[in-house]
């Protein structure tokens, strides 16, 4: 029976090898705990897609310019990013953060998208929305674009999200949740154009006539926090200070969403560092 025993041992060895190395990565995703309840009115922190901590994750809250995450996603999915867009009167009249577009100027969709994402420019965001929306309803392009945003939100299963305008102005009917923003952020990051835009510290765009417009990112983390890759800031009186932070280190990714966070920068830095500490802790 020696031969059979040898064969059985070899089989056991091979089977054993197949099992080796499959560490606790199979562990079920635990429900996030509300470990840092005072960082924001609502927050969500995940590591490599696994929720770590969250507070009031499903609360419906104003989102400020985090609305632009959906606006740029819809625009990218529409495609034709090198098409020239004429800046509408509505876009040129946009208030809040702007990059300085003038009515009638021509800018590519790609550059509008960059300005909306990096500088959170409302004029660029509105110009993009008007252009994409006009293909559906020339009479109310912004309304048509918002309808697209809501339809896309429904497709993504964002049950606590509703848009009333494309760029994030306060509106009682405009709301989202920290959990929905985490889902949306993953969809945005899956678009290479947007993932690239999100990590730019500054941009320089040119109109068709060669007027140069430059701007720095509103995301302060990109400058000093190692591994920061985005994603979007937002601030309005109703929404307070909001942030979606993406940080990647050593093959791991932390996603942090904060809505109405008084100390969004310091606290996001802390949340990110503490989240990465859990990687080291899980190995030791």
């Amino acid at each position: 029976m020696h031969a059979s025993r040898t064969f059985a041992r070899a089989c056991a060895l091979v089977l054993g090898l197949a099992c080796a190395g499959s560490r606790s990565s199979m562990a079920a995703a635990d429900a996030p705990t509300d470990a840092y309840p005072d960082v924001a009115a609502a927050y969500w922190v995940e590591l490599d897609g696994r929720p770590l901590w969250a507070g009031r994750a499903d609360a419906r809250l104003p989102m400020a310019s985090l609305a632009k995450l959906m606006a740029v996603l819809v625009a990218v999915e529409q495609g034709d990013l090198d098409a020239w867009v004429e800046v509408s009167a509505g876009a040129a009249a946009e208030t809040g953060t702007r990059i300085g577009l003038r009515r009638g100027e021509h800018v590519t969709r790609r550059d509008l998208l960059l300005a909306a994402m990096v500088r959170s420019a409302n004029d660029a965001c509105r110009a993009l929305a008007d252009d994409v929306g006009a293909a559906v309803d020339a009479g109310d392009p912004a309304g048509a674009f918002v309808a697209r945003m809501n339809a896309r939100a429904a497709e993504l299963g964002l049950s606590d999200t509703h848009y009333a305008n494309p760029c994030g102005h306060d509106d009682p009917a405009q709301h989202t949740s920290a959990r929905d923003l985490a889902v949306l952020s993953r969809a945005v990051l899956a678009e290479p154009v947007l993932a690239d835009a999100a990590q730019r510290r500054e941009i320089r765009i040119a109109t068709a006539r060669g007027r140069i417009l430059s701007a720095r990112s509103t995301n302060a983390l990109l400058t000093d926090l190692p591994g920061a890759r985005g994603l979007k800031t937002g601030t309005t009186p109703a929404a307070g200070r909001c942030l979606v932070a993406i940080v990647e280190r050593d093959g791991h990714r932390v996603l942090a969403v904060l809505l109405h966070a008084p100390e969004r920068w310091w606290d996001s830095v802390g949340l990110v560092e503490l989240a990465f500490e859990t990687v080291a802790a899980s190995i030791r």
């Binding site: 031969a3 064969f7 070899a10 089989c11 509300d34 470990a35 840092y36 000093d224 503490l274």
Partner: protein, 319 residues
């Protein structure tokens, strides 16, 4: 008869060619073996299988399908035929009477067994379909080849060290090669960055492999690595891996370079620095400050403390 018993009997029939292989000559015969089982008026044919067996007499006591709890009695050979009585005890208890015969191009045999009050008749027939290289095609040779393949495949895998080193090693002859790989991978472990990386990547198993290969224990290596980290000013490493040494570096630690170390291991100095450089200052206002990294570490520790405080108050404590 339970399915377990049935499987055992069939497996034993298929194995009889293997049992005959004990003599292990260099080449063998390839047989197509067919089995059939009859019980309670039902016939269950088995799927034919091909086996490579050593040249041996199919009609021999060794060729009787049985396990270690079986006793063969009254084995008699008469020309090309043989007969026997078999009694098995234990988990697979049974009694049976069998016969076997050498044929011109193979062998055949049958056994009538009583298992748990039921009669089962099992028959098998092996038809020689050609020759084979017993050295490479026997179950034993195939087992050895699989073992060698697995041993080769894992040579570079430090977590697989117990395959190569130690009393239960399945690949002891590969120890030297494996340990050379370990030595190559872990050779720079006294460098703090490499040590931390090895710890991160392999956790404790890397050090078990190093020690098993005679390279010293984790504690021994860490002592040397900590000394190097201290002399190189890598205080984050000192704080993380040799915290006992941390206090002697608190006074001279550079907040810009070792902010996390200061915050985590030098509470008094960190508090003083934070009061001077961080508190009340906005993140964006500190873009050119040399204390920004330190203040980030300080913010992290403050957040950790807030979290602990909230946790101790319970789920509604701070809302």
């Amino acid at each position: 008869m339970t399915p377990f018993h049935l499987r055992n009997v069939v497996a034993a029939a298929l194995c009889c060619a293997t049992i005959a292989a004990v003599a292990a000559p260099d080449s063998g015969d390839r047989y197509r073996v067919t089995t059939k089982m009859q019980m309670a008026g039902m016939s269950m044919p088995g799927k034919p299988v091909e086996v490579c067996t050593a040249h041996a007499k199919p009609v021999s006591e060794q060729a009787i399908p049985k396990d270690k709890d079986c006793d063969v009695q009254n084995f008699r050979i008469d020309g090309s035929k043989a007969s026997y009585h078999i009694v098995c005890t234990g988990k697979n208890a049974m009694t049976g009477d069998g016969e076997m015969e050498t044929l011109a191009d193979g062998y055949r045999g049958s056994m009538k067994a009583q298992v748990q009050g039921q009669q089962i008749t099992m028959s098998y027939e092996g038809q020689r379909i050609g020759g084979c290289d017993y050295a490479s095609e026997s179950p034993e040779a195939m087992g050895k080849a699989m073992t060698a393949q697995a041993c080769e495949a894992q040579l570079g895998s430090i977590p697989a060290y117990s395959m190569y080193v130690g009393p239960k090693a399945a690949c002891p002859t590969y120890k030297e090669k494996f340990c050379a790989n370990v030595s190559r991978t872990m050779g720079q472990a006294e460098d703090p960055a490499h040590f931390a990386e090895a710890d991160r990547t392999f956790a404790g198993i890397a050090w078990q492999a190093v020690e098993a290969c005679g390279g010293g224990s984790r504690a021994t290596i860490l002592a040397k690595t900590c000394a190097r980290a201290e002399s190189g000013g890598n205080l984050d490493f000192v704080g993380d891996f040799c915290p006992d040494l941390a206090p002697r570096h608190c006074a001279d630690a550079d907040p810009n370079r070792s902010g996390r170390f200061l915050v985590q291991h030098c509470a008094d100095r960190a508090r003083t620095l934070a009061a001077q450089q961080c508190e009340g200052r906005g993140y964006t206002a500190m873009q050119s400050s040399p204390y920004r990294a330190f203040c980030g570490s300080y913010a992290t520790e403050r957040l950790r403390a807030r979290g602990s405080e909230a946790g101790s108050k319970g789920p509604n404590g701070s809302r």
